[in-house]
């Protein structure tokens, strides 16, 4: 008799446990959406990333030896990991201008961006893609057959269609004009990728791989924190840098100084001056997106 009772109790306990496990993700997200502040989330993420990083680092150290440069670097990077939730500064509208007369198509911006933003090394494209475009299509000039390298990444549009279509509001425009994605909310439906005329968004088609000795430990919760599988990501104007007053990594990396960055609302910012002085244009204005990445030719179209 007692045995039967106990068995019944155990059964019920098992059932309750199963229900609790199946409900766990629901409860997690409700907390995420309703209760936690961004700062708290950043702190938790920092702990999580540190743990993950150290685990990966110990694996590397075992494989390559504790004295190897990879092991040392990895451990050092893990110690440095910090995830900020730096808010936007009032009175800022970030924008970029790209001088196509200077761009030589070397793709150093692509490489710098990948390292800076912890972009996966195993999936196809980075956040910046340099397309060789027909000039006649870019500016409508009758220069047939003339190709020019045009770096394309997120345009941080004023009217971003990607933001409008997202079924769960996982992407939006921040007050400083940066279009961000909440990786914890993205459901991976890829509607935003279909809506973007510039093909600026990337999907993590598998678990992203980053060797931790190459990790950039300075992170922002909406920026370069390592992503999970099956969420969308894209350029954030290096949100972790620009909100601290630094230029984006691609601007720093460009060997010819073709990229100009700054605050549109500041009359002395480089980007404001370029836009005031040169006839700038945007890509695909007919899409109605009002991009904040501008293009111009400082020294003529042909060199």
């Amino acid at each position: 008799m007692v045995d039967v009772e106990r068995r019944r109790l155990l059964k019920m306990l098992a059932l309750a446990a199963a229900v609790a496990i199946s409900l766990k993700p629901v409860i997690d997200v409700r907390e995420l959406l309703l209760r936690k502040s961004l700062g708290e989330r950043a702190k938790e993420l920092e702990e999580e990333i540190k743990k993950w990083c150290l685990e990966r680092a110990s694996r590397i150290c075992k494989e390559k030896g504790f004295e190897s440069p990879e092991c040392r670097l990895a451990v050092r990077k893990c110690e440095l990991v910090s995830v900020s939730a730096e808010p936007p500064k009032p009175g800022t509208q970030y924008a970029m201008a790209i001088d196509l007369s200077r761009c030589i198509g070397c793709r150093r911006c692509v490489y710098a961006c990948m390292l800076e933003n912890n972009v996966s090394r195993n999936l196809d494209e980075g956040w910046i893609v340099v397309e060789e475009l027909d000039l006649s299509e870019v500016i409508g000039a009758p220069l047939k057959g003339e190709k020019t390298p045009v770096p394309i990444s997120c345009m941080h549009c004023e009217n971003p269609p990607c933001v409008l279509v997202c079924p769960v509001a996982a992407t939006w425009v921040e007050p400083d004009g940066i279009v961000v994605i909440d990786y914890a909310r993205c459901i991976g439906c890829r509607y935003c990728m279909a809506a973007c005329p510039y093909n600026a968004r990337r999907f993590n088609w598998a678990k992203p791989v980053i060797p931790v000795w190459q990790l950039n430990p300075h992170m922002h919760v909406y920026g370069n924190v390592p992503r999970e599988a099956h969420v969308v990501e894209k350029c954030t104007f290096c949100i972790h840098r620009v909100r601290r007053g630094l230029p984006p990594a691609c601007v720093e990396a460009c060997p010819t100084g073709a990229r100009i960055f700054g605050n549109l609302e500041d009359p002395n910012s480089p980007v404001r001056r370029v836009i005031d002085e040169y006839p700038c244009f945007t890509l695909l204005p007919e899409a109605g997106t009002k991009p904040k990445v501008f293009y111009f030719f400082s020294g003529g179209v042909k060199r």
Binding site: P25, V26, V29, L123, D124, E125, V129, E131, L133, E137, V150, I152, P161, L164, V165, C166, P167, V168, A169, R185, C186, I187, G188, C189, R190, Y191, M193, A194, A195, C196, P197, Y198, N199, R201, R202, F203, N204, W205, A206, K207, E228, A229, H230, V231, L283, L284, E286, A287, G288, T289
Partner: protein
């Protein structure tokens, strides 16, 4: 509508599901094996990094990429939404236009609508990267401006309307009664707007995207409705034939005639809309991106199979119209079924991969390529098997009730 009849119908569906001969159980077993296999592929390969937290697998196993982020799943989603049109066409024919010969097909059509809508929703679910997140975030309607949310709302509403009305009709007919005037009117009033809405809102997902000039045309929504009204009745006619083969139930030839006629007329409308689209974009110089997309469609960039499918659509659609014009076709059951098959194949070619993949032709780069992989094919097969199982579950009681009513 009373709840008692609905529960009675539901009990009958369950009772029928567990009773059956060798043929029934072997079909169920075969479908279950397919479902289990594709569930394995989905959980342990395609969604392994998300569901199991492992390092291998992922949607990378599909043919999709950043350039073509939607593929086979989305194509089949669009197609199966279209098939759901069959139930409202039947109900309108019987309840509004008084076609008595079609009455025996109404419940079968509702079962088909339920199964096809289930397939459509499942195709979204296997496609999204984070299915669990989707399940609890989408119902919150966090972004009311997203058409995607509204599409799920209308799809689920239409599915429920069909399911509840099917169960109710079963409950009533089991007692030897007839579905009352009020219940019929309620179904028509609810389901007719929803039926138009599912195709329209599904098209509205694609239509407003300026990034995709091939989709960005006001003709897309009417085209979706037209192709839905072509493919739904065509499949219903074919499945009615299967029912006739498997049981003693016989349908009137006039019912077939009506279904095939609706299919062919809708095909004519769809052809007309296609012609209008081609004229708008290709006759004179116009929006270059749209011209490029349409030329690409007819010449097959992104995979030669796309051009083959597109031309097959045009040829089969024309053939089905010509076949229907012949008076002999309209008198023979066999030729009517051939006609339905032609329409169905034509719509499969028009409304699946060419429509989706061509849309992704990039504005600022050259070329796309997409070919479904075995992983995608396996999962798509499993979704079809599950939808087939749902159809079997709902259509069998409908047929049995109809046979019972015929005997009385």
């Amino acid at each position: 509508m009373s709840v008692r009849e609905i529960i009675k119908g539901l009990c009958y569906v369950i009772r029928t599901a567990v009773r059956g001969g060798l043929a029934y159980w072997s079909t169920v077993l075969a479908l279950l094996i397919l479902v289990a296999y594709s569930l394995y592929v989905w959980v342990f390969l395609q969604h392994a990094p998300v569901l199991l937290g492992v390092d291998y697998g992922g949607l990378a196993l599909t043919g999709m990429s950043d350039r073509v982020p939607w593929g086979l799943y989305t194509s089949l989603f669009i197609f199966w939404v279209g098939i759901a049109a069959s139930s409202i066409i039947c109900a309108l024919a019987v309840y509004v236009f008084g076609s008595r010969e079609t009455a025996a097909l109404v419940e079968l059509a509702k079962a088909q609508a339920c199964a096809s809508l289930a397939a459509a929703i499942l195709f979204i679910l296997v496609d999204v990267g984070r299915p669990l997140r989707t399940l609890y975030l989408m119902p919150l309607m966090l972004n009311p401006l997203s058409v995607f949310d509204w599409d799920m709302v209308v799809l689920i509403s239409y599915l429920l309307a069909n399911l509840v009305s099917l169960l109710y009709s079963l409950g009533v007919k089991l007692e030897g009664g007839l579905v009352g005037e009020r219940a019929r009117k309620a179904y028509i009033a609810l389901a007719a707007p929803l039926a138009i809405a599912v195709h329209t809102v599904t098209a509205f997902i694609f239509q407003p995207l300026a990034a995709r000039p091939y989709w960005n045309t006001a003709i897309l929504a009417p085209e979706f409705v037209a192709t839905a009204f072509a493919s739904g009745p065509a499949l219903l006619a074919l499945s009615a034939m299967v029912v006739e083969k498997a049981t003693r139930l016989r349908f009137n030839v006039n019912a077939y005639k009506l279904l095939v006629r609706v299919s062919v007329v809708s095909t004519i409308v769809a052809l007309y809309l296609s012609l209008s689209e081609v004229e708008e974009a290709l006759l004179y110089p116009s929006h270059p991106a749209r011209q490029r997309a349409l030329r690409c469609l007819l010449a097959g960039c992104g995979g030669a199979y796309l051009a083959v499918m597109e031309w097959t659509w045009i040829i089969l659609a024309l053939a089905s119209v010509l076949l229907h014009l012949h008076p002999k076709t309209r008198a023979s059951r066999k030729l009517l079924l051939v006609n339905a098959l032609l329409v169905l194949l034509a719509i499969v070619c028009q409304k699946t991969l060419p429509l989706v993949v061509t849309g992704f032709l990039p504005l600022l780069a050259r070329g796309i390529s997409y070919t479904p992989t075995p992983t995608e094919a396996a999962i798509a097969l499993g979704v079809h098997a599950l939808a087939g199982l749902i159809y079997l579950l709902l259509a069998r009681p409908a047929v049995l009730v109809e046979m019972e009513a015929g005997r009385r």
